[in-house]
Structures are given as structure tokens and as C-alpha cells.
Symmetry: C2
Subunit: 238 residues, 2 copies
């Protein structure tokens, strides 16, 4: 491994560098194995002798420690090429979409990819203010769903303009989520925990739904709220 190669791998911890070179990193035996099992195409898989899976480049433990983004490096460092997915015209009118509006916590973003995958959603939209789709925390929290879910980074104001399917916001006030009708096509918009929905997303809503509260908590975690709305949507579809 040359010094500049190690430096490149290490630089992938920064979103700006990832976007410059069009690459992202995934470290950790479990997550790399999950993604490989899901058929995810990596450009390169660097690994020490402790890694049991396939590799394209052997690496010493000392080099792994230099490349790694973590204080305790694993045995594998995979590099993928960033693919910028774009919405096809009219795409949001068909099927189920989960749209994340400024969800900044990477654990929540990854968990919502997993939720969309569980409930068979057709795609996930991420507004540019969301945690970066190609950060290791997001990929890790998705538990392999990163490889299976079609995810598109896009401004929601423009993406939701003219959508004919109902665009449903999840908020603290709105229609009872238990009364959702059967909607084969719909967009569910989840806002950030701190600030809720953005003005540009709220302007595109058909209506809002709310999760009935029987107790005293002020709010639910954004991923938890998303999951409950998805479950109710699937339940209404039967």
C-alpha cells in the first residue's frame, strides 16, 4: 500500500472528499458481509488475514490502522463507487415512497432505510439536509438495507411538485394514522426530530397524519414514527 493510497482511504471519512472522488468506505466484518451477501458491488475490498470473506487487496494490520476511520479497526475496508440516482418523471406517482426531510441523525437515516426495506417501499428520498447517505453510520445502521433500497438525494420542494399520489406528512397534529385508507401509491414525509417538516415539504402535503398518544411523551423518535406510519399504510392495503 502506498502512502497516497492509504491517505485516500482515510480521506473518505469526510463527505466533501467522498464527493470529490466519488467513493465511499464501509468498515466492519458484519456490515461488509451483509452488503456482500445482498449482492452489493464494491470497487475494492481491502482486508487483513483475519478476514474470512473475499478480498481484492491484502492489507497489513498496521496499514489497516492507518486507513481506518475508527480507533479500533476491523479486518476489512470496502470501497464503493457513489452512484447518483435520479427520479424518473412521474416516478413518485407509482408505489410507496418514504421521504426524509432534514433527518440529521445518521442512525435514524439508516434505521429508516431498514424500515423502508422491511415494508417493501419502492424508494427513499433524502433531502440534502439529511445525514449523508454514504456515511458509515448510515450504512451501518441500515443493516444491509443500504444495498437493497433505491435511495435518491433530492430537494423535496422540487421533487414533490406536481406529484399526483397523496403526499402525507407525519406531524403531531393531523388525521388519525389508524384511519388511513388503502393507498397503493403514496409519499410519506418524515421531518427532523428537532424542527419537524421544512416549509418547502409542508407546502407539498396533501394532508398530515398523527400517531394517537395515550401518555405523556412530547414526541416519538423520527424513525419510530416512520415505522408506525409504514405499518399502518401496509395494514390498510391488506
Amino acid at each position: 500500500m502506498t502512502r497516497s493510497e492509504l491517505q485516500l482511504l482515510r480521506s473518505l471519512r469526510d463527505k466533501r472528499h467522498r464527493e470529490e472522488v466519488g467513493l465511499y468506505a464501509v468498515e466492519g466484518e458484519k456490515v461488509v458481509a451483509e452488503l456482500v451477501a445482498a449482492g452489493h458491488p464494491f470497487e475494492k475490498v481491502y482486508a487483513t488475514d483475519a478476514w474470512a470473506g473475499a478480498r481484492t487487496h491484502a492489507m497489513t494490520e498496521a496499514d489497516m490502522a492507518r486507513a481506518s476511520h475508527f480507533p479500533a479497526p476491523s479486518a476489512v475496508f470496502a470501497v464503493g463507487r457513489i452512484r447518483r440516482e435520479a427520479l424518473a418523471p412521474g416516478e413518485l406517482d407509482r408505489g410507496l415512497t418514504l421521504a426524509l426531510d432534514g433527518v440529521q441523525d445518521p442512525g435514524n437515516v439508516g434505521t429508516m432505510l431498514r424500515i423502508a426495506d422491511w415494508f417493501g417501499f419502492d424508494r427513499v428520498l433524502l433531502s440534502p439536509a439529511c445525514a449523508d447517505l454514504h456515511s458509515q453510520k448510515v450504512i451501518q445502521a441500515s443493516m444491509g438495507s443500504f444495498a437493497r433500497v433505491r435511495a435518491i438525494v433530492t430537494g423535496l420542494g422540487a421533487a414533490l411538485a406536481g406529484v399526483k399520489a397523496p403526499v402525507i406528512g407525519c406531524e403531531l397534529e393531523g388525521r388519525d394514522v389508524h384511519a388511513l385508507p388503502a393507498l397503493p401509491d403514496a409519499v410519506v414525509v418524515i421531518g427532523s426530530e428537532g424542527r419537524g417538516l421544512s416549509d418547502e415539504a409542508r407546502a407539498r402535503l396533501s394532508y398530515s397524519v398523527t400517531i394517537p398518544r395515550s401518555g405523556s411523551a412530547e414526541s416519538l423518535n423520527a424513525a419510530v414514527a416512520a415505522a408506525i406510519v409504514c405499518d399502518n399504510l401496509r395494514r390498510a392495503l391488506g
Copy 2:
């Protein structure tokens, strides 16, 4: 502040020390303000001049940095007394209980306290293998619900023995959670993400429920699964 006082505060980062002295720590302006607003009784509130709320002990920034459990200390360090709640005889036969079985992720444990609070559950049980109820990560993730939810640390095998209310496990196979009947009294048991339910808890189940999957993810996050079961339980109660 004496050196031994600072050392005591710092030692509260370890569960063993917390249990020895019967105290726990909460740092951070937002979480302490939430708990105080919820009427939570703290023994002592140490704060620097940057803290706008009530305090019982003034502290310099340098001392706060010595006491703090975090690299970036906040303006407030609150100390509470650990109260060991115990189950009353027959208590689990009345109302709704969320039982956490070896949930080790502190963020998940805190999120489930918040979920129990939102859905008006009467209590939460934590098996001894769960993340410590009095760790800062649990308290932080509960978003103030730590102050409102009755939480009891107890072995689930013994606690669930002889319970007359239905004891419902959440697993990957079981009855459809959408078909839950109206249950004013019930115990919902959520296992760890990695290992599922323990043998001692599974032996006490009346039956299991599962969340219908339409897609490909292998599982859901434990807190997400708990929330969906709680929502369906409340929905069935009408």
C-alpha cells in the same frame, strides 16, 4: 469543590460505582431541563454560570471539565439518587407492561422508555442484562420519559411467573400483530436485536406476535418493533 467530590462525580460513569454510592449523573442543558420540567427530583445540581436554570452548587468551568463524563462538558451536572422500584404482588395483571429482555443498546432502552411513555404504558421491566437504566445514554435517549415512566429492573423468569394477563412476545414468527384483540391488561416482551428472546422469558409467553413484512430486511430495530406492537395494542383498545 474538593478533589474527592470531583472524583465522586467522575466515578458515576461506571455502573459499579453508581450502585455502590446509590447515585447517578445526568449532564447536558437540554436533558436536565427536560427532567426538571417533568418534576424529577435531583439530589444536587452543579452548574457553571452559563446554566440558566436552578442550581444547588456553583461550579467553575475547569471543575466541570474534571467532573464531566464527556470530552465536551455542558454547563450542568445533575446528581440523582437511585431508587430501586419493586413489583407489587399481582401488579403485572393490571394494565400494560413493556418488558425488555436483554436489550443492550442504551439508545434503544431510552427510546423504549419514551415509547412506553407515549403510549401510556403503566410500567417498563428491564431484565438485568439490559443496558443500565441509570446510564447517561439511556436517560438521554428517553427525552425526559425517564422521569415519568415507572421502570423496574427484575429477572423476567421470576417476574412473569404466574402472571394472569397475556404475555406477548415479539418475534419473527407468530400471530399477525394486526389481529391483536383488545387487551386492557398485557405484557409485551421485546428481546435483544442480536439474540432475540431469552429462554426464561420465552418459557413464560402466552403467544408471540410478528409484524408483517412486505420487503426484504431481515429484521427491524428492537425499539421500532416495540413501537409498532404498542401502536397496534392501543389501536385494538380503541
